[in-house]
Symmetry: C2
Subunit: 195 residues, 2 copies
Protein backbone atom coordinates (compact mmCIF):
# COMPACT_ATOMS: atom_id res chain seq x y z
CA UNK A 1 0.00 0.00 0.00
CA UNK A 2 1.18 3.43 -0.84
CA UNK A 3 1.39 6.23 1.63
CA UNK A 4 2.72 9.19 -0.29
CA UNK A 5 4.31 12.17 1.40
CA UNK A 6 4.78 10.23 4.64
CA UNK A 7 1.14 10.56 5.62
CA UNK A 8 0.48 8.89 8.93
CA UNK A 9 -0.95 5.39 8.32
CA UNK A 10 -3.63 5.52 11.00
CA UNK A 11 -4.90 8.82 9.76
CA UNK A 12 -4.77 7.70 6.13
CA UNK A 13 -6.92 4.67 6.86
CA UNK A 14 -9.90 6.78 7.78
CA UNK A 15 -9.74 8.77 4.55
CA UNK A 16 -11.43 7.06 1.62
CA UNK A 17 -9.59 8.18 -1.47
CA UNK A 18 -11.79 7.10 -4.36
CA UNK A 19 -9.19 8.05 -6.92
CA UNK A 20 -6.83 5.39 -5.62
CA UNK A 21 -9.35 2.72 -4.77
CA UNK A 22 -8.56 0.61 -7.84
CA UNK A 23 -5.01 0.46 -6.62
CA UNK A 24 -6.13 -0.42 -3.12
CA UNK A 25 -8.34 -3.33 -4.24
CA UNK A 26 -5.44 -4.76 -6.21
CA UNK A 27 -3.08 -4.34 -3.24
CA UNK A 28 -5.51 -6.07 -0.90
CA UNK A 29 -5.82 -8.99 -3.32
CA UNK A 30 -2.06 -9.11 -3.85
CA UNK A 31 -1.67 -9.27 -0.06
CA UNK A 32 -4.00 -12.28 -0.02
CA UNK A 33 -2.01 -13.97 -2.82
CA UNK A 34 1.20 -13.51 -0.82
CA UNK A 35 -0.47 -14.83 2.32
CA UNK A 36 -1.75 -17.95 0.50
CA UNK A 37 1.66 -18.53 -1.06
CA UNK A 38 3.56 -18.17 2.22
CA UNK A 39 1.15 -20.50 3.98
CA UNK A 40 1.02 -22.98 1.10
CA UNK A 41 -2.76 -22.60 0.70
CA UNK A 42 -2.94 -21.66 -2.98
CA UNK A 43 -0.57 -20.56 -5.73
CA UNK A 44 -2.17 -17.60 -7.42
CA UNK A 45 -0.32 -14.76 -9.10
CA UNK A 46 -1.28 -11.55 -10.80
CA UNK A 47 -0.23 -11.81 -14.42
CA UNK A 48 2.17 -9.13 -15.56
CA UNK A 49 0.50 -6.25 -17.41
CA UNK A 50 0.66 -6.98 -21.13
CA UNK A 51 2.97 -4.50 -22.80
CA UNK A 52 3.91 -3.95 -26.43
CA UNK A 53 7.61 -3.17 -26.68
CA UNK A 54 8.61 -0.77 -29.44
CA UNK A 55 12.20 0.13 -28.67
CA UNK A 56 14.92 -1.45 -26.52
CA UNK A 57 18.37 -0.08 -25.88
CA UNK A 58 20.45 -3.26 -25.81
CA UNK A 59 23.66 -1.34 -25.32
CA UNK A 60 22.37 -0.01 -22.03
CA UNK A 61 21.44 -3.16 -20.00
CA UNK A 62 18.42 -3.78 -22.29
CA UNK A 63 16.50 -0.76 -21.05
CA UNK A 64 13.09 -0.40 -22.70
CA UNK A 65 12.90 3.05 -24.27
CA UNK A 66 9.43 2.90 -25.75
CA UNK A 67 6.46 0.67 -25.03
CA UNK A 68 2.70 0.86 -24.59
CA UNK A 69 0.02 -0.83 -22.50
CA UNK A 70 -2.03 -3.50 -24.28
CA UNK A 71 -5.64 -4.41 -23.53
CA UNK A 72 -5.84 -7.62 -21.50
CA UNK A 73 -7.61 -10.55 -23.20
CA UNK A 74 -7.63 -12.74 -20.10
CA UNK A 75 -8.32 -12.02 -16.44
CA UNK A 76 -5.67 -10.57 -14.16
CA UNK A 77 -5.10 -13.36 -11.65
CA UNK A 78 -4.71 -17.08 -12.17
CA UNK A 79 -3.31 -20.13 -10.47
CA UNK A 80 -4.13 -23.32 -8.63
CA UNK A 81 -6.14 -24.08 -5.50
CA UNK A 82 -6.80 -27.63 -4.26
CA UNK A 83 -5.81 -28.95 -7.68
CA UNK A 84 -8.31 -26.66 -9.43
CA UNK A 85 -7.62 -24.02 -12.02
CA UNK A 86 -8.64 -20.59 -10.70
CA UNK A 87 -8.85 -17.33 -12.63
CA UNK A 88 -10.39 -14.02 -11.67
CA UNK A 89 -10.31 -10.30 -12.08
CA UNK A 90 -10.58 -7.43 -9.60
CA UNK A 91 -13.17 -4.80 -10.48
CA UNK A 92 -13.66 -1.56 -8.70
CA UNK A 93 -17.19 -0.17 -8.91
CA UNK A 94 -17.66 3.50 -8.08
CA UNK A 95 -21.40 3.56 -8.67
CA UNK A 96 -23.48 2.71 -5.63
CA UNK A 97 -26.46 1.48 -7.62
CA UNK A 98 -25.14 -0.74 -10.40
CA UNK A 99 -22.05 -2.40 -11.87
CA UNK A 100 -21.51 -1.42 -15.54
CA UNK A 101 -20.91 -4.45 -17.79
CA UNK A 102 -18.48 -2.38 -19.84
CA UNK A 103 -16.04 -2.78 -16.93
CA UNK A 104 -15.39 -6.21 -18.41
CA UNK A 105 -13.74 -6.22 -21.84
CA UNK A 106 -15.36 -8.28 -24.59
CA UNK A 107 -12.27 -10.53 -24.80
CA UNK A 108 -12.33 -11.09 -21.06
CA UNK A 109 -15.95 -12.19 -21.19
CA UNK A 110 -15.21 -14.68 -23.96
CA UNK A 111 -12.26 -15.97 -21.97
CA UNK A 112 -14.33 -16.32 -18.79
CA UNK A 113 -16.91 -18.39 -20.67
CA UNK A 114 -14.18 -20.66 -22.04
CA UNK A 115 -12.58 -21.23 -18.64
CA UNK A 116 -15.94 -22.22 -17.13
CA UNK A 117 -16.66 -24.58 -20.05
CA UNK A 118 -13.32 -26.27 -19.40
CA UNK A 119 -14.09 -26.84 -15.73
CA UNK A 120 -12.19 -23.93 -14.20
CA UNK A 121 -13.20 -21.68 -11.33
CA UNK A 122 -13.69 -18.21 -12.77
CA UNK A 123 -15.12 -15.14 -11.07
CA UNK A 124 -14.87 -11.42 -10.36
CA UNK A 125 -13.92 -9.77 -7.11
CA UNK A 126 -16.10 -6.65 -7.06
CA UNK A 127 -15.52 -3.80 -4.68
CA UNK A 128 -18.80 -1.93 -4.26
CA UNK A 129 -20.45 0.11 -1.51
CA UNK A 130 -17.55 -0.59 0.85
CA UNK A 131 -17.93 -4.35 0.52
CA UNK A 132 -16.02 -6.98 -1.44
CA UNK A 133 -17.91 -9.65 -3.34
CA UNK A 134 -16.95 -12.84 -5.11
CA UNK A 135 -19.33 -12.83 -8.09
CA UNK A 136 -19.29 -16.17 -9.89
CA UNK A 137 -18.69 -16.21 -13.64
CA UNK A 138 -21.71 -18.53 -13.95
CA UNK A 139 -23.94 -15.89 -12.34
CA UNK A 140 -22.52 -13.21 -14.60
CA UNK A 141 -23.24 -15.27 -17.73
CA UNK A 142 -26.72 -16.10 -16.49
CA UNK A 143 -27.45 -12.42 -15.93
CA UNK A 144 -26.14 -11.49 -19.39
CA UNK A 145 -28.24 -14.22 -21.02
CA UNK A 146 -31.45 -13.11 -19.34
CA UNK A 147 -31.14 -9.37 -19.12
CA UNK A 148 -30.59 -6.74 -21.72
CA UNK A 149 -29.42 -4.17 -19.20
CA UNK A 150 -25.95 -2.83 -19.52
CA UNK A 151 -25.31 -2.93 -15.82
CA UNK A 152 -25.90 -5.28 -12.92
CA UNK A 153 -28.01 -3.74 -10.15
CA UNK A 154 -26.33 -3.65 -6.75
CA UNK A 155 -29.16 -5.76 -5.37
CA UNK A 156 -28.16 -8.64 -7.69
CA UNK A 157 -24.52 -8.38 -6.65
CA UNK A 158 -25.45 -8.23 -2.99
CA UNK A 159 -27.82 -11.21 -3.29
CA UNK A 160 -25.91 -13.50 -5.66
CA UNK A 161 -22.40 -12.46 -4.66
CA UNK A 162 -20.43 -13.90 -1.74
CA UNK A 163 -19.22 -11.28 0.70
CA UNK A 164 -15.48 -11.48 1.30
CA UNK A 165 -13.71 -10.70 4.54
CA UNK A 166 -10.83 -8.31 4.69
CA UNK A 167 -8.26 -7.99 7.35
CA UNK A 168 -4.85 -6.41 7.46
CA UNK A 169 -2.80 -9.63 7.65
CA UNK A 170 -4.56 -11.77 5.04
CA UNK A 171 -5.87 -9.12 2.64
CA UNK A 172 -9.18 -9.93 0.93
CA UNK A 173 -9.80 -13.57 1.79
CA UNK A 174 -11.13 -14.76 -1.57
CA UNK A 175 -10.12 -18.39 -0.93
CA UNK A 176 -12.65 -18.57 1.88
CA UNK A 177 -15.12 -17.24 -0.69
CA UNK A 178 -14.16 -20.00 -3.15
CA UNK A 179 -14.67 -22.62 -0.44
CA UNK A 180 -18.25 -21.44 -0.01
CA UNK A 181 -19.19 -20.44 -3.57
CA UNK A 182 -17.74 -23.60 -5.15
CA UNK A 183 -18.10 -25.99 -2.26
CA UNK A 184 -19.40 -28.89 -4.35
CA UNK A 185 -16.54 -28.60 -6.82
CA UNK A 186 -13.95 -28.25 -4.07
CA UNK A 187 -15.19 -30.92 -1.68
CA UNK A 188 -16.26 -33.73 -3.97
CA UNK A 189 -12.92 -34.10 -5.69
CA UNK A 190 -10.41 -36.58 -4.43
CA UNK A 191 -7.64 -34.12 -5.18
CA UNK A 192 -5.83 -34.68 -1.99
CA UNK A 193 -3.22 -32.06 -1.36
CA UNK A 194 -0.39 -33.11 0.84
CA UNK A 195 2.40 -30.77 1.69
Amino acid sequence: MKYPNSINKTYKKTVINYKNRGMDLESMINDACSYYLENDIAIIYKKPTPIGIVEVDYKNKAVIKKAYFKEPSTLDYNGIYKGKYVEFDAKECHSKTSFPIKNIHEHQLKHLRRIINHGGICFLVISMNDNYYLFKGEDLLEFLAKEERKSIPFKVIDTKGYKLDYNYSTGIDYIKGIDIAYKELINFENTKVEN
Copy 2:
Protein backbone atom coordinates in the same frame (compact mmCIF):
# COMPACT_ATOMS: atom_id res chain seq x y z
CA MET B 1 8.59 -17.33 -37.54
CA LYS B 2 11.05 -14.72 -38.60
CA TYR B 3 12.79 -14.71 -41.92
CA PRO B 4 14.96 -11.63 -41.91
CA ASN B 5 16.21 -10.01 -45.09
CA SER B 6 13.60 -11.84 -47.20
CA ILE B 7 15.58 -15.06 -47.21
CA ASN B 8 13.74 -17.76 -49.09
CA LYS B 9 11.78 -19.88 -46.62
CA THR B 10 12.65 -23.24 -48.10
CA TYR B 11 16.30 -22.42 -48.08
CA LYS B 12 16.14 -20.92 -44.60
CA LYS B 13 14.60 -24.06 -43.16
CA THR B 14 17.74 -26.07 -43.84
CA VAL B 15 19.92 -23.51 -42.07
CA ILE B 16 19.99 -23.91 -38.31
CA ASN B 17 20.37 -20.47 -36.88
CA TYR B 18 21.21 -21.07 -33.24
CA LYS B 19 20.93 -17.41 -32.38
CA ASN B 20 17.23 -17.39 -33.20
CA ARG B 21 16.26 -20.82 -32.00
CA GLY B 22 14.88 -19.59 -28.66
CA MET B 23 12.48 -17.42 -30.63
CA ASP B 24 11.53 -20.28 -32.91
CA LEU B 25 10.72 -22.68 -30.07
CA GLU B 26 8.49 -20.04 -28.50
CA SER B 27 6.76 -19.36 -31.83
CA MET B 28 6.11 -23.05 -32.37
CA ILE B 29 4.58 -23.33 -28.90
CA ASN B 30 2.57 -20.16 -29.39
CA ASP B 31 1.22 -21.67 -32.62
CA ALA B 32 0.10 -24.73 -30.65
CA CYS B 33 -1.60 -22.51 -28.03
CA SER B 34 -3.53 -20.70 -30.78
CA TYR B 35 -4.47 -24.01 -32.39
CA TYR B 36 -5.76 -25.43 -29.08
CA LEU B 37 -7.69 -22.23 -28.37
CA GLU B 38 -9.31 -22.09 -31.81
CA ASN B 39 -10.30 -25.74 -31.59
CA ASP B 40 -11.44 -25.49 -27.98
CA ILE B 41 -8.97 -28.15 -26.83
CA ALA B 42 -7.16 -26.24 -24.10
CA ILE B 43 -6.86 -22.65 -22.90
CA ILE B 44 -3.20 -21.97 -22.40
CA TYR B 45 -1.51 -18.59 -22.78
CA LYS B 46 2.01 -17.31 -22.58
CA LYS B 47 2.17 -14.91 -19.67
CA PRO B 48 3.29 -11.41 -20.56
CA THR B 49 6.97 -10.75 -19.89
CA PRO B 50 7.29 -9.20 -16.43
CA ILE B 51 8.42 -5.60 -16.78
CA GLY B 52 9.30 -2.97 -14.22
CA ILE B 53 7.96 0.40 -15.33
CA VAL B 54 10.04 3.43 -14.39
CA GLU B 55 8.57 6.27 -16.41
CA VAL B 56 5.26 6.81 -18.21
CA ASP B 57 4.30 9.79 -20.30
CA TYR B 58 0.61 10.15 -19.44
CA LYS B 59 0.25 13.25 -21.59
CA ASN B 60 1.16 11.22 -24.65
CA LYS B 61 -1.37 8.31 -24.65
CA ALA B 62 0.38 6.72 -21.65
CA VAL B 63 3.52 5.81 -23.58
CA ILE B 64 6.09 4.01 -21.44
CA LYS B 65 9.36 5.94 -21.67
CA LYS B 66 11.54 3.83 -19.42
CA ALA B 67 11.20 0.25 -18.22
CA TYR B 68 13.30 -2.87 -17.69
CA PHE B 69 12.87 -6.64 -17.96
CA LYS B 70 12.35 -8.49 -14.68
CA GLU B 71 13.43 -12.03 -13.93
CA PRO B 72 10.45 -14.42 -14.10
CA SER B 73 9.54 -16.20 -10.86
CA THR B 74 7.00 -18.53 -12.47
CA LEU B 75 6.97 -20.48 -15.73
CA ASP B 76 6.08 -18.83 -19.04
CA TYR B 77 2.89 -20.66 -20.00
CA ASN B 78 -0.15 -21.58 -17.95
CA GLY B 79 -3.78 -22.48 -18.35
CA ILE B 80 -6.34 -25.23 -18.22
CA TYR B 81 -6.68 -28.57 -20.02
CA LYS B 82 -9.47 -31.05 -19.25
CA GLY B 83 -10.15 -29.23 -16.02
CA LYS B 84 -6.52 -29.53 -14.92
CA TYR B 85 -4.10 -26.74 -14.13
CA VAL B 86 -1.17 -26.78 -16.56
CA GLU B 87 2.04 -24.77 -16.37
CA PHE B 88 5.27 -25.11 -18.31
CA ASP B 89 8.30 -23.38 -19.70
CA ALA B 90 10.08 -23.60 -23.04
CA LYS B 91 13.81 -24.21 -22.83
CA GLU B 92 16.22 -24.15 -25.72
CA CYS B 93 19.31 -26.30 -25.23
CA HIS B 94 22.27 -25.59 -27.49
CA SER B 95 24.52 -28.27 -26.04
CA LYS B 96 24.17 -31.66 -27.68
CA THR B 97 25.34 -33.59 -24.65
CA SER B 98 23.58 -32.14 -21.61
CA PHE B 99 20.95 -29.66 -20.40
CA PRO B 100 22.39 -27.14 -17.90
CA ILE B 101 20.24 -26.83 -14.76
CA LYS B 102 21.09 -23.14 -14.61
CA ASN B 103 18.67 -22.70 -17.53
CA ILE B 104 16.00 -22.87 -14.86
CA HIS B 105 15.98 -19.99 -12.39
CA GLU B 106 15.94 -20.83 -8.69
CA HIS B 107 12.51 -19.16 -8.29
CA GLN B 108 11.11 -21.16 -11.18
CA LEU B 109 12.26 -24.42 -9.61
CA LYS B 110 10.62 -23.52 -6.32
CA HIS B 111 7.44 -22.61 -8.20
CA LEU B 112 7.46 -25.88 -10.17
CA ARG B 113 7.72 -27.86 -6.95
CA ARG B 114 4.80 -25.97 -5.46
CA ILE B 115 2.57 -26.50 -8.50
CA ILE B 116 3.23 -30.25 -8.44
CA ASN B 117 2.50 -30.42 -4.71
CA HIS B 118 -0.83 -28.73 -5.34
CA GLY B 119 -1.82 -31.27 -7.99
CA GLY B 120 -0.95 -29.30 -11.12
CA ILE B 121 0.65 -30.53 -14.33
CA CYS B 122 4.06 -28.88 -14.57
CA PHE B 123 6.84 -29.58 -17.06
CA LEU B 124 9.47 -28.23 -19.44
CA VAL B 125 9.41 -28.33 -23.20
CA ILE B 126 13.05 -28.84 -24.10
CA SER B 127 14.39 -28.34 -27.59
CA MET B 128 17.56 -30.42 -27.96
CA ASN B 129 19.36 -32.20 -30.77
CA ASP B 130 16.60 -31.26 -33.23
CA ASN B 131 13.91 -32.87 -31.11
CA TYR B 132 11.29 -31.49 -28.74
CA TYR B 133 10.69 -33.18 -25.41
CA LEU B 134 8.10 -32.87 -22.70
CA PHE B 135 10.17 -33.37 -19.55
CA LYS B 136 7.98 -33.83 -16.49
CA GLY B 137 8.59 -31.66 -13.44
CA GLU B 138 8.47 -34.82 -11.33
CA ASP B 139 11.39 -36.29 -13.32
CA LEU B 140 13.33 -33.06 -13.00
CA LEU B 141 12.90 -33.00 -9.22
CA GLU B 142 13.82 -36.67 -8.97
CA PHE B 143 17.01 -36.04 -10.94
CA LEU B 144 17.93 -33.05 -8.79
CA ALA B 145 17.32 -35.01 -5.60
CA LYS B 146 19.54 -37.91 -6.66
CA GLU B 147 22.28 -36.29 -8.67
CA GLU B 148 24.78 -33.62 -7.82
CA ARG B 149 25.50 -32.85 -11.45
CA LYS B 150 24.75 -29.39 -12.70
CA SER B 151 23.34 -30.65 -15.96
CA ILE B 152 21.05 -33.39 -17.17
CA PRO B 153 22.71 -35.73 -19.69
CA PHE B 154 20.96 -35.91 -23.05
CA LYS B 155 20.46 -39.63 -22.49
CA VAL B 156 18.24 -38.91 -19.48
CA ILE B 157 16.19 -36.38 -21.44
CA ASP B 158 15.86 -38.77 -24.36
CA THR B 159 14.85 -41.68 -22.12
CA LYS B 160 12.62 -39.99 -19.55
CA GLY B 161 11.27 -37.25 -21.80
CA TYR B 162 8.28 -37.59 -24.12
CA LYS B 163 9.07 -36.73 -27.72
CA LEU B 164 6.70 -34.13 -29.12
CA ASP B 165 5.49 -33.91 -32.71
CA TYR B 166 5.81 -30.73 -34.66
CA ASN B 167 3.91 -29.79 -37.75
CA TYR B 168 3.27 -26.51 -39.45
CA SER B 169 -0.45 -26.27 -38.69
CA THR B 170 -0.50 -27.29 -35.03
CA GLY B 171 2.95 -26.18 -33.88
CA ILE B 172 4.58 -28.33 -31.17
CA ASP B 173 1.79 -30.66 -30.07
CA TYR B 174 2.45 -30.64 -26.34
CA ILE B 175 -1.15 -31.56 -25.48
CA LYS B 176 -0.65 -34.95 -27.10
CA GLY B 177 2.44 -35.20 -24.90
CA ILE B 178 0.38 -34.39 -21.80
CA ASP B 179 -2.15 -37.09 -22.75
CA ILE B 180 0.65 -39.66 -22.72
CA ALA B 181 2.89 -38.36 -19.92
CA TYR B 182 0.01 -37.72 -17.52
CA LYS B 183 -2.45 -40.31 -18.75
CA GLU B 184 -3.52 -41.47 -15.30
CA LEU B 185 -4.14 -37.94 -14.11
CA ILE B 186 -6.02 -37.01 -17.27
CA ASN B 187 -8.08 -40.17 -17.65
CA PHE B 188 -9.12 -40.82 -14.08
CA GLU B 189 -10.54 -37.65 -12.68
CA ASN B 190 -10.42 -38.94 -9.14
CA THR B 191 -6.81 -39.98 -9.18
CA LYS B 192 -4.84 -38.93 -6.18
CA VAL B 193 -1.78 -36.88 -6.98
CA GLU B 194 1.34 -38.34 -5.49
CA ASN B 195 4.82 -36.96 -5.89
